[in-house]
Assembly symmetry: C2
Homo-oligomer: 518 residues x 2
Amino acid sequence: MTQDTVRKRRSGGRAGNRSRSGGAAIAQMPWRIPLNPDRPTEPLDAEGVAAIHHGAMRILREIGIEFLNPEALELLREAGCRIEGRNVRMDEDFVMEMVRRAPPRFTITPRNPAREVVVGDGHMVFVNVSSPPNAWDTERGKRPGDFETFREFMKLTQYFNCIHVAGGYPVEPSDIHASVRHLDCVQEKLLLTDKVVHAYSLGAERVEDVMEMTRLAGGLSHEEFEARPRMYTNINSVSPLKHDHPMLDGALRCARRGQPVFVTPFTLAGAMAPVTMAGAVTLSVAESLSAIALLQYVKPGCPTGMGTFTSNVDMKTGAPAFGTPEYMRATQMTGQLARFYGLPLRSSGVCVSNVPDGQAMWETSNSLWAAVQSGSNFVYHAAGWLEGGLIASPEKFVMDCEVLQMIQRYFEPAITATTEDDIAVDAIREVGPEGHFFGAEHTQARYTSAFYAPIASDWRNFEAWVSGGSEDTVMRAHRIYKAILNEFETPPMDPAHREALTEFVARRKREGGAPTDF
Amino acid sequence: MTQDTVRKRRSGGRAGNRSRSGGAAIAQMPWRIPLNPDRPTEPLDAEGVAAIHHGAMRILREIGIEFLNPEALELLREAGCRIEGRNVRMDEDFVMEMVRRAPPRFTITPRNPAREVVVGDGHMVFVNVSSPPNAWDTERGKRPGDFETFREFMKLTQYFNCIHVAGGYPVEPSDIHASVRHLDCVQEKLLLTDKVVHAYSLGAERVEDVMEMTRLAGGLSHEEFEARPRMYTNINSVSPLKHDHPMLDGALRCARRGQPVFVTPFTLAGAMAPVTMAGAVTLSVAESLSAIALLQYVKPGCPTGMGTFTSNVDMKTGAPAFGTPEYMRATQMTGQLARFYGLPLRSSGVCVSNVPDGQAMWETSNSLWAAVQSGSNFVYHAAGWLEGGLIASPEKFVMDCEVLQMIQRYFEPAITATTEDDIAVDAIREVGPEGHFFGAEHTQARYTSAFYAPIASDWRNFEAWVSGGSEDTVMRAHRIYKAILNEFETPPMDPAHREALTEFVARRKREGGAPTDF
């Protein structure tokens, strides 16, 4: 077959992606927990890993980390650390003894056990965008987050099989008072999704409420809840060199009840961290290990993960940049350190672009492929993030899910299988120099599942694409997101569990929720 | 420094990328030949590599390749291959003996020796988009290629330091008759650029003319021209299992004069190749090796490279897809085979999208990162390609150059250096928990060159971006490409060489150029 014939074939065919899906918004890949088969990309040799490790140990021993939480200080004093005011210095022996207690792998089981995720050991799970204050879409532009928009994103989170975890709030619903926001949001999240949920470590009441809501939604006894990870939290250090009070408090509460904690410093090279990427990674590792050591002291063997959020600033303005070459290498380096310590790794899908354009996708592709190359196990903000985390976008969510699906497909061993049947010498002989492979039995037997089937990509040629309306990627993603909301079905929930959940939320709202200072 | 402070910093700063460049269109990275430091991604184990190798050898021995060129048939008969009609069967011993003659590394030296490129041995050079019949930009839409547009792309090719080679015609100038097109185009290319040029193997006269024009433009004697690679050709097999007459003729002409030949089958899985990726790669390897064996028989040690252009079709329409997971793995697998044979690898930067949108950039990112992961040495279509190769776009050219620059920066060992100075414990101690790193001496000493500086990316926050005109990536790329054309300066050329070149072209045009059948 000539290239001309191939080109002609592109002018025919289906009208967009809709015909494939038989009325549904899209024909997506089934739910799976992807397993990354590739050897990680490792820019550091053994000496490089040792240099960062020793640097982190020097920071912990010589400089110390501020723990702005009296309970944590008392625990670390009891553990034998040197405490001066809120400064805590730890010896390498103590840190490494604690880190060795951490499991290299754990599972998190949400209310629907079929949605259990594996964290560690080559597995890679994707989390929706979390925490932007604003939303943006092609119809409404940029606007502050609200509860209705929060609900839209929770539906997308539930809909996409390549999104494994319903992380933080995809947008902050600013129309709900902060005192009860966690009650409304997590209740809605538990009703609209059956995936793993998250608690913000922003005060004792919030963390305790989310654990209780997760327990009630799953119909679990307290013992069942604590028997295995059911939800998780993520804490960020206040770089440089500090852990704040509510984050430590929430981490301790989760760890004590066996719920996983990721510790993710935000070490922006040139701002909150050294301008050198190795320096920024060293600081990040030190901050992360200091909190993990505390948690492993309190609850030996509790599930913990190392987070990375190391990037660089724009040299001219000091503004954060994401998806840069420096970001990629920092993520890969942190992956090497996480493996050195035997800890699961959390990284992110991030970009700086303000709209879901070409820049957004090269930045996001860079960060998601860096997640793959670093052996990341838990990928935050994997779909929907824009403007350095200040915007969540439903179009970007759909577009990112295409990239995530391609990563999942890329992991499938079938693509690179080399059995005699795959090598296909007999089919090549049969087709010969004058034939083509469309009609070969070898092709027909494998055709329907041989290749990745896209959801938002348009593979038609220019003329067919024009006659179909000249929709660019964002326009197609907009149409798809609307169709998904249209056909969304709430996942089933045991009515008794639902009643227990809603009663709890109603009671806690009557009690005023969590205290706020406004 | 808190995340809030970081966010505030994003609202200030420069107005776009223009202020950085002091009047020039952009402040780009300097010319360099990138060296890829990463271990390649290798989906195949040793048995997998052996399975593909043995499959390729079986194809060559049992099925044979059609050589539609009497001279090639005669040469291969003389070499001891079994010839039946135009079918040629080769034994493994012969193929491997010939392939062992091929150098793992060579250089190509254009008329400006400072633009010499290294092919092989971990080096990675980027070639402009080649051969689309059409152009597209935001002002003029899609239209057939013409000479003026050809000239625009040659200026972009010369301007960008991250484009190392002026490959084929970025667009086919359909306003110039095919008989003299190569004369006008290559003359213009040699005048507008001082980078490595290419000859299409489309008939004896064209190949000979381009070699002669390259020789004259460099002011070289025939001996000097043949003493080392000065230009190159690329031939495509007619998959499955065929090499056509003009391609073989051009390859033989180049090889005999010591000029490099890349052999790049177009093995589209499910169309011209088996539906299994390993089968498509096996066929590609067999076709490529068969031509390389011929060339190494004719001119032992001549510079040759293995090309890969293996992708898959859209399952529903049979249209080609690019930048898919299957494409990425096929590229990586072919990289493993190229290393097995000790041959430099050529791959591509490709996409199917019709406009430079999000899809274009995730497909292109996938293919360019696959080029990195496969250890590719020579990357065709690295900037400017759209619509599966039917469109060249100047905006896409600029956008791709941002990705290429990021890849070059990603390769720099400085990012992952771990000297004591990089680990920066002293700077972390100096800044302490209450400070920030902007003002630290450690930062100030490294600030201006610490991070990648973008050319087409906008890293401002949403509000600053809106007040700057809400330009998305394509609009910015359009502005940049226009500015580049505006400030373009033709590279210097010895007047005597120029005169010799233009006189040769004038004479060959008087003679009618190359014969055509129309």
